[in-house]
Subunit: 477 residues, 2 copies
């Protein structure tokens, strides 16, 4: 899957193009020197090695990094060392505690005259089955809604099976819909009297590779044993049900605890005259346990670390501080983001901009902002610059990424550099999320975008919160 | 992966084209009525449902069919019923006994500071590790030859790891080379003092899906515990070795027995005046245990059953008998083919032609023969007919398929309809060998080819053994 498409000629042309003057509108256009520097950053991103090595090393030397596990703890130690060696400042871990869940074993098999194994994986928060497993008949539903509409008690002693499909979209909108069945299956099935629930994997590939992910639960554990079938196994179960009753034996073992250590790893490129103002770019350090967390979200960490290092390599310091946050325990409920917002609640006003990269390493095709009405011209300026490397201008409704949600809700301006996610759910949350799935050239385009907007945000001093009726003075520029 | 590309207009055009007169050369050209009927068979194949349903039902209702296992035994009972219901004659099982091997568990993990699981699968014939597993350092080799060249005793207490790649080819030639490491790793590693061997999976995909297959062994068991890593896990192990020593814990459990029941399932479309002469078309009924044996070799069984049924549906019986053989225990050493040759040793001269379909369900792109010198014009006639549906004319060096090897060596003429195998090793011997990987349209083109040549061979009475110096009388036509 790896490609190396760097062309030196193209690089030089890119640098020339990018340093062309930006919007002429007074006050919201980029000063010539900032525009030129941003252009050079984007050109330099095309030969990034720091970011790519960061994700390669993380996924190789640590591998899977389940939230709250010893592996996530090792990843924090590793990341602190790595950020220090890269020259980041103020490198630290901000600890917090989470409910802990992990699988210990998981098997499923059709029993009876069509006896055969099925490939499953437990959902995050699944209860264990009774010792030795449970055996029950399958009742199939086309969708979560259909299961929810079943009469209470109608599934007593049965296994509910939701066979809902998911389709590929560039922006990942198919995921929100499909993930509802993952989140809601156990609760809905329990309400109807079922003993377990199975779902068709939330994913878009047809390999024998199931997809895990968190489900609704109280603390560490959900209402029932719950697991996802790989797509071919879901097909198989559906074909078997067309032929008659199907009985399945499910055996899931889990470990759980109400409290386990996690933490956010932070490193900074300190600013100069506005160093207490923070441009936060983040990712999450934890991953699911099945793969090595390369596209979710080692890639995001490589992107923000790589981008920050490009800015650090500039001759002068940017005015504001670039804060890189590798959030912990995102996968189990965005817990790192919540902890960060809690621990930094008294300095949210110092956060001038935030974004988290957490959608793989695909090419960024659009750039969204969520700025104050009066700051929209700043957004237009940044977007216009990014169109030069093929990024479309998005709207002003950015989400910012899962772990910066609490910041956004706290009034922090955010941006979303939208990655092409058509292949993301082929790998996401599966054993197949491994380093070879990252395309280095597309990965580096992400670094270009992160480096450019982070640098502009840090160096211009623009106030992205500015309301529509604010006076025309722009930040501290 | 399923497509339904049948176009009725195309079908009619195909039928018209196929019934055009064949080669004019006297005595080796097809009589007009046989040519027309072969054309109609090929057209009818495009709407086959019997063959496709056969493989769907087999892979769904039985699933994996490991040689010598209860599942293979169930598959024989299932196939006997199915062939009888389809109207085959003389349906029977010819029993034989094989050494039995199956896996009971298999895990691998890197231990130490980079602790993480690795996805492996034991090779067929692997020894078990000691109770609780074994732990040893890895020594990597680029190829089997490099391992074989290592000094005796140089791997004492180590795990040998062969990291040899395999490339995609249309005709599967990459497999022969790559499979040598699978076959030879344990013996070579044992000779050097190693305690186990690992190989990069023999396959051409980059998913976290390992590839199993038989290895060299005496009876049921090989020299050492031996397993294949999925491609991403092989990449990972190699990256870890670039960073320093790697220690792996390997835990493989197996069951084995020197004798277990297997068998060949046979059904016939009885001929008319030459009914004791046999056109044998086969496949293998057993599969590896990881997938459901859809492309290897449920598809082959669907193809030959579907083709025979099309011939059976003709108004009159063909002159010779079409014998369909679903061989048992192919995967563990071509044991069904050997048993058949043994059990039918005194009637090999009655076998006028043989072929086994065992390379998936990809489009047939070439048709090879292995006929006597004097019978080559018959081959040319059949090949010329098949060029009309896009099948190139192959040489006269056909292998005929794994289970008909003993027949070929016993002088039976064989043909090889060569399937496009570029994707075959993406799925072959992996959990991913499931029904959804079969393209119905390409599958049906296979049925067209098998129906056409089998019918021509049965109806013409041509002698495919005919030597160069034989008199010019042609068979019994
Ligand atoms: Zn994520
Ligand atoms: Zn995730
Ligand atoms: Zn085969
Ligand atoms: Zn095979």
């Amino acid at each position: 899957m790896k490609r190396n498409g760097l062309r030196i000629g193209g690089l030089v042309a890119l640098a020339a193009m990018l340093t062309a003057p930006a919007l002429a509108e007074t006050g919201t256009s980029l000063p010539q020197d900032i525009s030129e520097t941003a252009g050079r950053l984007m050109a330099a991103a095309a030969s990034d090695t720091v970011g790519l090595k960061f994700v390669e090393d993380l996924t190789t030397e640590i591998g899977p990094r389940l939230a709250g596990s010893p592996a996530e703890a090792r990843a924090r130690v590793w990341a602190v060392n790595e950020l220090k060696q890269l020259g980041f400042q103020n490198v630290r871990v901000e600890d917090f505690s989470i409910p802990y869940w992990s699988r210990t074993h998981e098997t499923a098999e059709v029993v009876g005259s069509n006896a055969q194994p099925l490939v499953i994986t437990a959902l995050g928060g699944s209860k264990a089955t009774p010792e030795g497993g449970l055996e029950a008949d399958i009742v199939r539903f086309d969708s979560l809604s259909d299961l929810q509409a079943a009469p209470v008690g109608s599934l007593t002693g049965k296994i509910a099976y939701i066979d809902e499909l998911m389709y590929k979209t560039q922006d990942g909108t198919g995921y929100g819909l499909a993930v509802r069945k993952r989140s809601g299956c156990a609760n809905a099935a329990a309400e109807k009297g079922a003993v377990a629930c199975l779902i068709r994997s939330v994913g878009t590939q047809s390999h024998r590779i199931p997809h895990t992910g968190i489900m609704s639960r109280d603390g560490a554990l959900g209402a029932l044993p719950a697991a996802a079938l790989s797509a071919p196994d879901a097909d198989q179960l559906t074909r078997l049900l067309e032929r008659g009753d199907v009985r399945v034996k499910l055996d899931i073992g889990v470990q759980s605890a109400e409290a386990a250590p996690s933490g956010n790893v932070i490193g900074e490129i300190e600013g100069s005259d506005l160093k207490d103002e923070i441009v936060l770019i983040g990712c999450h350090l934890d991953s699911w346990d099945l793969g090595t967390g390369a596209i979710d979200d080692g890639a995001g960490c490589g992107i923000v670390v790589g981008a920050a290092k490009l800015i650090d390599a500039l001759p002068g310091k940017p005015r504001r501080t670039i804060r890189v946050v590798l959030f912990g325990s995102e996968e189990v409920g965005l817990l790192g983001g919540q902890a960060y917002a809690r621990q930094h609640g008294d300095e949210l006003d110092k956060h001038v901009l935030a974004a988290e990269s957490d959608f793989g390493a695909g090419r960024i095709w659009q750039f969204q902002t969520r700025f104050g009405e009066g700051a929209k011209p700043y957004g237009d300026t940044i977007k216009a610059m990014l169109t030069k490397i093929g990024v479309a201008e998005g709207n002003n409704e950015a989400g910012g990424g899962p772990d910066v949600g609490p910041l956004r809700r706290g009034g922090v301006p955010v941006v979303t550099p939208s990655q092409d996610g058509r292949d993301y759910f082929d790998y996401h949350h599966t054993p197949d999320d491994t380093f070879d799935k990252i395309d280095p050239e597309e990965f580096r385009q992400n670094i270009a975008v992160y480096a450019a907007f982070s640098y502009i945000a840090a160096e211009t001093g623009w106030d992205f919160r500015k309301a529509a009726d604010a006076e025309s003075a722009q930040g501290a520029d």
